[in-house]
Amino acid sequence: MAGQAVLTGTHFINGDEACAEGALAAGCRFFAGYPITPATEVAERMSQRLPGVGGVFIQMEDEIASMAAILGGSWGGVKSMTSTSGPGFSLMMENIGLGLCTETPCVICNVQRAGPSTGLPTLVGQGDMMQARWGSHGVYEIIAIAPSSPQEMFDFTIKAFNLSEQFRLPVLIMADEVVGHMNERVVIPEADQVQLVERSKPSEGPDTYLPFQPGPDGVAPMATSGEGYYMHITGLTHDEKGYPVMEVWAQEEMTQRLVDKIQGNLDQILDFEAIHLEDAEVAVMAYGISARSARGAVLALRQAGFKVGLLKLNVVWPFPEDYVRELSRRVKAIVVPEINLGQMVLEVERLAQGRCQVKLVPHPGGGIITPARIMEAVKASLEETS
């Protein structure tokens, strides 16, 4: 396999391996990680493949180091990535915040398992969704995407790199154990069919370049270490020069910038599929492996004549607020299956504001939510709201 970054062809591989292939196809050439079930196969595949394409793999001493190292790798000008699961994701939080504050593109794949703590290491969970949004301290916006198949593990990893490069931030792939370990057909396109986005580079010289001065799209061009810009990068609150300023105005400006570059570009970031929602009385909203079950449930119910549709979130953060608000006006109920005791459902409740019923189909972790359970919930909602 040595030498070929984009493994064009049809493969039968698991989601973790597809994630690694997506990273390589996206141009990732540095991976720092620490083994953890069920994400280890991402690291293993990268360790095998990176040397052959001129990249570097390193197994760090822990996930804190892994996360710090990929930030360093990114400032060294190389697309960088790590992968982990719950316990490691918790350890990465502080340096994800450093990446957000210093606007450092990189990708973190969290193959979720059931928690809290060591939980069920080999079994599925979706309990880190709010941690993805709020897990690092302070004020910020994040981008997180949720693949629901090995093919999407490949496609969405490329998407994650593109979003991270375009908007200069760590992007989270919120996968799960079933998607990570499931073997399925994955089609990898020709290299020239892979659409890549690269970080914009400064057009100015070192005398006038401001590392945190946003361009018209809200994102500042990014210099790389070694290019003579002598930039200063800090996790302290800083001005557009990158220099620390311990003042409220600077905090206000900086956090506003971090929020605006996401909220101001929602048209380019939000990604969801609306299936049979035009005339739906009940909508099911799902992401990751639960979207697979939901799709099965919705299609079966449609065949049986029920007016039900699916909102499948590809990008989970930022949340499609406008769409869900609008949806809540025209459906009787929104059913949310997720492998936790209620996380993304809180967003739906917040936006629906009582305009429709919001019904959680919970699972504590360790197994998937079956289509049958979702079908039951939809039928119950139809009855309760008729």
Partner: protein, 299 residues
């Protein structure tokens, strides 16, 4: 305003090119030893033949960590303890770069201790400069892994019950290729050591014994920086190339300074390249007699 003061802004400091002059005044206290270490670092960089653009300075959090904000090179002020891990990624992504990590004793060897020992073990190519002021200066003077036994800090008000690390011995035993320690009064030798470390391939480590009059000295009734400097300097003995384990920090005439290690060893990237070119014999080199191993198991 005196005539002398009036001319100050015009006066050029020899190291102005390496300073973000617009960020001066700095945050450090009068009499702080960090400035001396910073000056030595800048002199060593100035003397070195390494192109300016290739340098990157990475620090963690602390008074020493603020150094990254004053040096006019690519500079990264990261999170508490993680400078070496960040620097590892920077180095691996851009191997031609010269990566310097400059940070405090707490940052590098308490919260960051794990990264320190593993980077030394891997012989990650970087120069690590530790300003050891025997406490956490930035947060007001708490116990550090370097605090002398019995010394008072805000979290050991009766005196420290902890035994400190010997950073040089630790670095050496983990595989550092260059290890030296000097006090802030050994300016010339400190500068030479940093210059040597910068030219060394692999994990090089320089410890600077430095006064923190504000947070550490004050609690131990040594309020003046000069008195601290003298305590360290006057009790120092130069011993080059001794076993690093014997490089004690004993304030009773045996604060050992000198160059303890200066060896050659392949770096992580040397090994990585060789392994991936297939040049390294599979482990174990001697092979295993499977039948003998089976017998032992049966017995």
């Amino acid at each position: 305003m005196s005539a002398q003061q009036a001319t100050l802004p015009q006066a050029e400091h020899p190291q102005d090119a390496l300073l973000r002059t617009e960020r001066i005044p700095h945050i450090w206290c009068a009499g702080c030893g960090i400035g001396i270490a910073f000056g030595s670092l800048m002199s060593a960089i100035t003397k070195s033949e390494i192109p300016r653009d290739d340098f990157a300075v990475v620090s963690g959090i602390g008074c020493t960590g603020r150094l990254a904000g004053y040096i006019h090179l690519d500079s990264f002020h990261t999170t508490h303890g993680r400078a070496i891990a960040f620097a590892t990624g920077l180095k691996l992504a851009r191997p031609q770069g010269k990566v310097i990590v400059a940070s405090g004793d707490g940052d590098l060897l308490a919260i960051g201790g794990n990264h320190f020992i593993h980077a030394a073990r891997r012989n990650m190519d970087m120069t690590v400069i530790c300003v050891n002021n025997f406490n956490y200066g930035m947060t007001g003077g708490q116990l550090a892994p370097s605090t002398p036994y019995g010394a008072k800090t805000t979290t050991t008000p009766q005196g420290s019950p902890d035994e400190p690390f010997n950073f040089c011995s630790l670095a050496a035993s983990c595989g550092a290729t260059y290890v030296a320690r000097w006090t802030a009064l050994h300016i010339r030798r400190l500068t030479t050591a940093i210059a040597e470390a910068l030219n060394k391939k692999g994990f090089s480590f320089v410890e600077v014994i430095a006064p923190c009059p504000t947070a550490f000295g004050r609690r131990n009734k040594i309020r003046r920086s000069l008195d601290l400097l003298k305590l360290y300097y006057d009790n120092s003995v130069v011993k080059n190339h001794i076993a690093p384990g014997e490089a004690t920090i004993d304030f009773d005439n045996n604060l050992v300074v000198g160059k303890f290690v200066d060896v050659e060893r392949p770096t992580f990237l040397d090994h990585y390249a060789a392994i991936n070119r297939g040049e390294v014999e599979a482990w174990p080199a001697t092979g295993v007699d499977a039948s003998a191993a089976g017998k032992r198991k049966a017995g």
